[in-house]
């Protein structure tokens, strides 16, 4: 589904990502973990096109997407959430989801004019599904900025889902959530996997990662130090070193 080969990103002297390789298979939940500053978010930003790689290849469904414009990557089937929530706070919850209706699937359903200057009618059903899934239906008409923190995280997820991606990139979706919310998230991720989504999950919350992922890639200082099933990774001494060594 997604393959990264020799990916490198330098910011001036900082080697945020320093030559990593991994491949995500269709239908799996793939974990990307590592201590703070190890280059996880940078990797997602590279895949989504917010940064251009210094070196390396990003293949999505066999196609090199390095030259694909950022906004077009969504229509290829890549949707993401942000670690530091980035919602359109002055739009309503409903409108936030409406923004993500740019995938080819939506194009087939409504013509150009209807999609851009049409009213809400033709999007209503799809969006209410996404809202139901994230448990935000009762807040559809509230401004996104007025939501509680946990709700904002869920809205980020819903917005990514509204784009009907093939691959979901979740950057620390559990950050700042309480135990109950994390349990819900766990359940949602499993449901999404059943529905056929492929997921890249970045998380610091180890219990969640170990519970939902099929395979995990561990980064440290921009390099891959381990890859394998949760059990293999947990047993890996290099991983322990990395985490204990940085005090996390």
């Amino acid at each position: 589904m997604l393959e990264v080969r020799g990916l490198v990103k330098h910011f001036g002297g900082v080697r945020a990502v320093d030559g990593i390789d991994f491949a995500i298979r269709p239908g799996e939940v793939f974990g990307l973990i590592g201590p703070n500053g190890s280059g996880k978010s940078t990797t997602v930003n590279l895949v989504c096109g917010l940064y251009a790689p210094t070196q390396g290849q990003i293949l999505f469904q066999g196609q090199d997407i390095a030259r694909v414009a950022t906004h077009k990557r969504l229509s290829l089937g890549l949707a993401r959430t942000f670690q530091n929530i980035r919602l359109f706070t002055n739009l309503t919850v409903w409108e936030n989801l409406w923004m993500a209706e740019n995938a080819p699937a939506h194009r087939a359903e409504a013509g150009f004019l209807k999609r851009w200057v049409g009213g809400r009618g033709n999007a209503r059903e799809r969006i209410s599904q996404a809202l139901e899934f994230s448990g935000l239906a009762h807040r559809a008409d509230d401004l996104a900025g007025s939501l509680a923190f946990g709700e904002q995280r869920r809205l980020e997820l819903a917005r990514a889902l509204a784009a009907r991606p093939r691959l979901l990139l979740l950057d620390e979706p559990a950050a700042g959530m309480n135990a109950e919310e994390i349990a819900q998230l766990d359940e949602r991720i499993r449901m999404l996997q059943q529905q056929g989504y492929t997921i890249l999950l970045i998380e610091h919350h180890m219990e969640l990662v170990m519970a939902v992922t099929d395979r995990i890639c561990v980064l440290n200082f921009g390099r891959k130090i381990a890859e394998g099933t949760p059990a293999q990774v947990q047993a890996d001494p290099a991983v322990r070193d990395a985490y204990l060594g940085t005090g996390a």
Binding site: T70, H71, L74, R80, R86, F88, M99, W116, R120
Partner: protein, 301 residues
């Protein structure tokens, strides 16, 4: 009565100017080029009615299209820069347009007299309204029909997905890209729409005053253009129109008895208003309070 007709016309074309800046502001771009598009509209429309003898309506459309085309062309390079750089770039563009008309001669003999733009002298004798026997009332109704059409179209646009897209881009460009919005396309479209509206406004202005010259289209006018939506708030088009009525009707006309002091007051009022209400006269909180007052959208509160 003629005084009020004339005032309503002034408010009308200033409303168009303000609305043109409103569209662009929704995408988070502060454009000081609107006076330039307004100038292009004014000159183009006047040249069509005076020199080519066109009817006003097609001349206005041509003016709008010319201004829109210019806005589209300017949009591409200008939108590569953002924020304050854009303010400066558009300011310079507006000045360039003004200076262009300062140097622009295109005169044609019509009977004994020569008509057409003549550099610093400006463009005189744009007399389409009187030549066609329109009264002040006719003109006023015409102007406000145009304003109503434009405002209505924008109102509808605001409620469509495109309106929300404009606001989304204005709020967070990065997130907008990540949900698949093409920033360049959205911003250039907004700029083009804004250019069209400003062009229409300029066309009306030229035929209202009958005499235009480059100095009408300076920084002051550009400031007015963005001041209306900023004062009125970006909630909806009505805010902008209310701001125009307030500024042109009350500050400029209502306070005429203050004479020269009025201009002093204008600058001072903007400074004061921004200190007291940094988010516009009608900011989000006020809008919600008003909405509650009228019982609508109570659930949003």
């Amino acid at each position: 009565m003629d005084f009020y007709y004339s005032l309503a016309q002034i408010i009308g074309f200033h409303a168009l100017l303000g609305l043109s800046a409103y569209v662009v502001l929704l995408t988070g771009q502060v454009s000081l080029a609107q006076a330039g598009f307004f100038a292009i509209g004014a000159y183009v429309a006047a040249m069509f009615t005076v020199l080519a003898g066109w009817h006003l309506v097609p001349a206005m459309l041509a003016a709008g299209l010319a201004a829109a085309a210019m806005a589209c062309i300017v949009g591409f390079p200008a939108l590569r820069v953002r924020g304050l750089m854009l303010v400066i770039a558009t300011l310079a563009f507006g000045e360039a347009v003004r200076l262009f008309f300062f140097n622009f001669d295109y005169q044609v003999a019509k009977g004994e007299v020569k008509v057409g733009p003549l550099g610093g002298e400006g463009f005189r004798q744009i007399r389409w309204f009187p030549e066609h026997g329109w009264t002040g009332l006719d003109v006023m109704l015409f102007v406000w029909t145009v304003v109503a059409l434009v405002a209505g179209a924008l109102w509808w646009l605001d409620r469509s997905r495109f309106g929300a897209v404009l606001r989304a881009v204005g709020e967070d460009e990065l997130a907008a890209q990540s949900v698949g919005l093409n920033l360049t396309a959205v911003k250039v479209t907004a700029m083009t729409i804004g250019g069209f509206i400003a062009g229409l406004g300029g066309a009306i202005y030229a035929h209202y005053t009958t005499h235009i010259e480059h100095s009408n289209f300076g920084v002051l006018l550009a400031t007015f253009a963005i001041a209306y939506p900023i004062l009125g708030g970006l909630r909806n088009v009505l805010g902008t129109i209310v701001a125009v009525i307030f500024v042109q009707g009350f500050l400029v006309e209502g306070l005429r008895f203050l004479g020269d002091w009025r201009n002093l007051l204008f600058g001072a009022l903007i400074v004061l208003a921004m200190n007291l209400r940094p988010n516009g006269l009608i900011d989000a909180a006020t809008a919600r309070r008003l909405a509650r007052l009228f019982g609508r959208e109570a659930r949003r509160a």
